[in-house]
């Protein structure tokens, strides 16, 4: 996988991860992980719990540095040009990170400030982001009153405030009912379609994969496959993504979380 270092701006991928390994003590969480997210594509990071998805997210969001390999966001190295990289990155973490006692609007204003956006600009972006996720009429309410799906949508709205070009979502639909899941998926997919965002969507739910998506299969800290869904099916000679996953990882069928 040869990647040019001096590719023109329009050609650089939204996210480039190359040869990244990470260990906590003796516990090796990631081994030589490489993946690439083209601009404007929806990429599913498939893996079971403990596959290393969250570690990978922590490295990309620069919670801790990658010791080996490199991570680039739109060509900006996350270690050397952290500011430029983080400015183009929006994140929805797996755990809830909203202030429950503050209103929706106040939560979004806080995030605007964290990106240096203030005044009328902050108000306009907040209103726009709330409209995108359909929560405009609840702007003045406390987050505590929101349902699980609504707070997830608010977190997506928050991640859009600084107008990132790459969105990371770590298991965004976990714990949501079917209706909420659908609306969250729909919002993010329409962002890819209409706004040209590149998305890395980590999940262990195979029914969230569409045939047009790109798939990165992560298992026990290793990338087993990257490519399109038809390529995955052809490669494994299977009919469904979940069967393909099971064949590649050798995991037993029947675990509830692997529902197709």
């Amino acid at each position: 996988m040869a990647v040019e270092h001096r590719t023109p701006e329009a050609e650089t991928p939204a996210l480039l991860v190359r040869d990244v390994s990470h260990a906590f003590g003796d516990n090796r969480a990631l081994s030589d992980v490489s993946l690439e997210i083209p601009r404007g594509r929806f990429v599913v990071l498939l893996g079971l719990n403990g596959a290393g998805k969250s570690t990978l997210f922590s490295l990309i969001t620069r919670l801790y540095d990658n010791v080996t390999g490199e991570i680039r966001i739109f060509g900006a190295d996350i270690r050397r040009r952290a500011t430029a990289a983080l400015q183009r990155l929006g994140v929805v973490f797996q755990s809830r990170t909203l202030d429950l006692d503050l209103t929706l609007q106040q939560n979004l204003f806080y995030h605007c400030a964290l990106h240096g956006i203030s005044g009328a600009d902050a108000r306009a972006r907040t209103a726009q982001a709330l409209a995108t996720v359909g929560l405009t009429d609840r702007a003045e309410e406390k987050v505590r009153n929101l349902s699980g799906g609504q707070s997830r949508r608010l977190e997506i709205a928050r991640s859009l405030l600084h107008r990132p070009s790459l969105l990371l979502l770590d298991e965004p639909t976990v714990g949501l009912d079917i209706g909420s899941r659908e609306s969250v998926v729909k919002i993010v997919r329409s962002l890819v379609e209409k706004e040209g965002l590149a998305v890395l969507w980590a999940t262990h739910l195979f029914d969230e994969v569409l045939p047009t998506d790109l798939v990165v299969l992560l298992h026990k800290g290793r990338v087993l496959f990257t490519g399109t869904v038809p390529e995955l099916l052809a490669h494994t000679e299977m009919q469904t993504v979940s069967d393909a996953f099971r064949k590649m990882t050798g995991t037993a069928a029947g675990t509830g979380e692997l529902a197709a």
Binding site: S58, L63, Y64, V91, I117, L160, S165
Partner: protein, 352 residues
């Protein structure tokens, strides 16, 4: 391995879309916005936690009204610098209690950081494109702002206590808040009033209290405070910053900080009692020279002395130097600990 690549029709077109937006560089104005936003959130969150506000206030008041009243007899009057002559024990202990507010507040905000780290709010902060040291310092400033609010409420109460108004004066001052308390207790049983009504009652009570203060000051012809409430502000901020840095360092290093009892036992109590907050160090020296040296080494002693002198618009240069030095060490340690590549977080498995 197959390389992922975008096909032609999926490559982004230029236009008015979010993804085509090139981020502007972060100027001075952006930094100010970020600092303001973080401090604003801390204060706002604090205001929503009424229990925390009350307990933060009740704690030093109990010490002032009960503990100090008892110790006045046992310890007698104090006659150490910066006091010109003998002063009442309550006056002596005031800087110590201000220090106590700062200490508790710092530890509480460090606990909230541990909590933040678990819920992921700390990650939201650290994903901000600003340099990490700036984010941590802003977070500290937020904590110090909250502590300073508490200190000034405490000082106002001390001012009226010192004025010795007699029952009529205190009845006037406490009337509105007392009425609010009664209302709250009734509501706790009956749930007669909506949240909105109670919020309105709170605002009314606060305004009424402020009016009463003005009335009392005018009617009793009260003098200016016996201490310099303005000169103490920089000392409060510096001391608060030092304790905040210490707490931040602790929050990153010590995993077991999660429960407050542990912090009380291992941090707050030793720091508070082995200091000049409650008794002049000369008295400790008489009973135990070893303890005297421990007290001298305790940065909290110097934070308290800094505040003590500042209350009389004087600067204790030695204490100021030590407090600043300790701040630099603690803050440097905390920034190191939160550094993504070298820090302890990376080695240990990290927040969240």
């Amino acid at each position: 391995m197959t390389t992922l690549s975008a096909t032609d029709q999926q490559r982004p077109r230029s236009g008015d879309r979010i993804a085509d937006n090139a981020p502007p560089p972060l100027g001075v104005h952006a930094y100010v916005t970020c600092l303001y936003g973080i401090v604003w959130r801390e204060v706002l969150r604090y205001m929503h936690q009424r229990e925390r506000f009350l307990s933060a206030l009740v704690r030093p008041l109990i010490w002032l009204f009960i503990f100090a009243a008892g110790f006045r007899q046992a310890l007698g009057v104090q006659n150490t610098p910066p006091y010109d002559g003998a002063v009442l024990y309550e006056v002596y202990v005031l800087p110590g209690l201000i220090g106590m507010i700062l200490l508790f507040n710092a530890m509480q905000s460090s606990l909230s950081m541990v909590y933040d780290r678990e819920t992921g709010a700390m990650r939201t902060l650290l994903v901000s494109p600003f340099p990490r040291w700036f984010l941590l310092v802003s977070k500290l400033v937020g904590g110090v702002a909250v502590a300073a609010i508490q200190v000034y409420v405490f000082l106002i109460i001390f001012y009226f206590w010192e004025a010795d108004l007699g029952s009529t004066g205190y009845a006037l001052l406490l009337g509105p808040l007392g009425a609010l308390a009664v209302l709250a207790i009734i509501n706790a049983f009956g749930k007669m009033f909506s949240q909105r009504t109670m919020a309105g009652a709170l605002a009314a009570a606060l305004i009424a209290t402020a009016v009463m203060m003005a009335v009392v000051i005018f009617a009793w012809d009260l003098p200016a405070p016996s201490m310099n409430y303005l000169a103490v502000l920089p000392a409060v901020l510096i001391a608060g910053f030092m304790l905040g840095s210490l707490a931040l360092l602790l929050s990153s290093v010590v995993r077991q900080l999660e429960n407050f009892a542990g912090v009380m036992n291992f941090v707050i109590f030793p720091m508070f009692f082995a200091s000049s907050a409650l008794y002049p160090l000369s008295r400790i020296e008489q009973s135990s020279p070893v303890l005297y040296y421990i007290c001298q080494l305790n940065p909290f002693t110097h934070a308290v002395e800094l505040i003590r002198f500042a209350l009389y618009a004087r600067v204790d240069w030695a204490s100021l130097g030590i407090v600043l030095l300790c701040t630099a060490i603690f803050l440097g340690g905390a920034i190191y600990a939160y550094n993504p590549s070298k820090g302890l977080i990376a080695r240990r498995g990290g927040p969240g």
